[in-house]
């Protein structure tokens, strides 16, 4: 079972890197934000898997905090982009 989890992790890492390509290429800022959003989601997924791989239950708390708070950064960027600040 551990093998499957770790392979999934590697796939997720590759996907994160691919999303970073969009972050780099842009072309506009909203595109980059979309990429950031995708990276957020993927990172949370990989954190959840890692918690299982390492058999450390408490690690999921990190993922929850992460999912909650990356939203805030996103909202601030969106607020600035929409000239609403």
């Amino acid at each position: 079972m551990t093998g499957a989890w770790t392979i999934a992790l590697v796939v997720l890492a590759v996907l994160i890197l691919l999303a970073l390509v969009r972050l780099l290429r842009g072309p506009s800022v909203p595109d980059r934000v979309v990429a950031l959003d995708a990276v957020n989601t993927l990172v949370v997924a990989s954190m959840i898997i890692l918690a299982v791989v390492k058999k450390q239950v408490i690690f999921v708390d990190v993922a929850i905090v992460y999912a909650l708070l990356s939203f805030v950064g996103l909202l601030f960027i969106a607020k600035y982009l929409g000239r609403e600040m």
């Binding site: 708390d61 805030v72 600040m85």
Partner: protein, 155 residues
């Protein structure tokens, strides 16, 4: 300007959950990852979430920076007093004198791997709480003040 109704609603609904989660992180600082700093940061970021979703004026009318300053000072003073309270008992500062003393957080901890009990840790949970209060106040004030700095007309 505020964000749309959808974002505001989501932020409003998320806020209490963020807060209880932050308090959970603070309260379980001695058992699970986290503690005063992290929990305080979570709550402060939740306030930032409100600021992002609503107008600055709406939020700053409710989350008053004066009150946050009091939170911060009280948290720090509490930490200071907790830390140096051992001196009154004739022990060095920062001695965890409440550990197994027959008071609030006095349960003896099981050694090795265990599911963890909330009532252990002596002074530590209290210190966590104080630090959480401080960090919550501090980070909120930083956000509020910096936002107020953008509002002012530079001329």
């Amino acid at each position: 300007m505020r964000m749309t109704k959808v974002v505001r609603t989501v932020a409003d609904l998320l806020y209490p959950f963020c807060m209880i989660f932050g308090l959970y992180v603070v309260a379980h600082g001695h058992l699970t990852p986290g503690g005063g700093f992290q929990g305080g940061a979570v709550i402060a970021t939740a306030t930032a979430l409100l600021i992002a979703a609503h107008r600055y004026d709406d939020v700053s009318a409710r989350v008053k920076s004066a009150r946050m300053k009091v939170f911060e000072s009280v948290g720090l003073l509490g930490f200071l007093i907790l830390g140096f309270s051992a001196i009154i008992l004739g022990q060095p500062a920062f001695r965890n004198w409440m550990l197994s003393r027959g008071s609030l957080f006095n349960d003896s901890v099981a050694f090795g791997v265990n599911p963890g009990a909330l009532t252990t840790g002596g002074l530590m949970p209290l210190m966590n709480l104080a630090v959480g209060l401080e960090v919550l106040g501090a980070l909120t004030i930083i956000t509020l003040y910096m936002l107020s700095g953008t509002k002012e007309d530079p001329s």
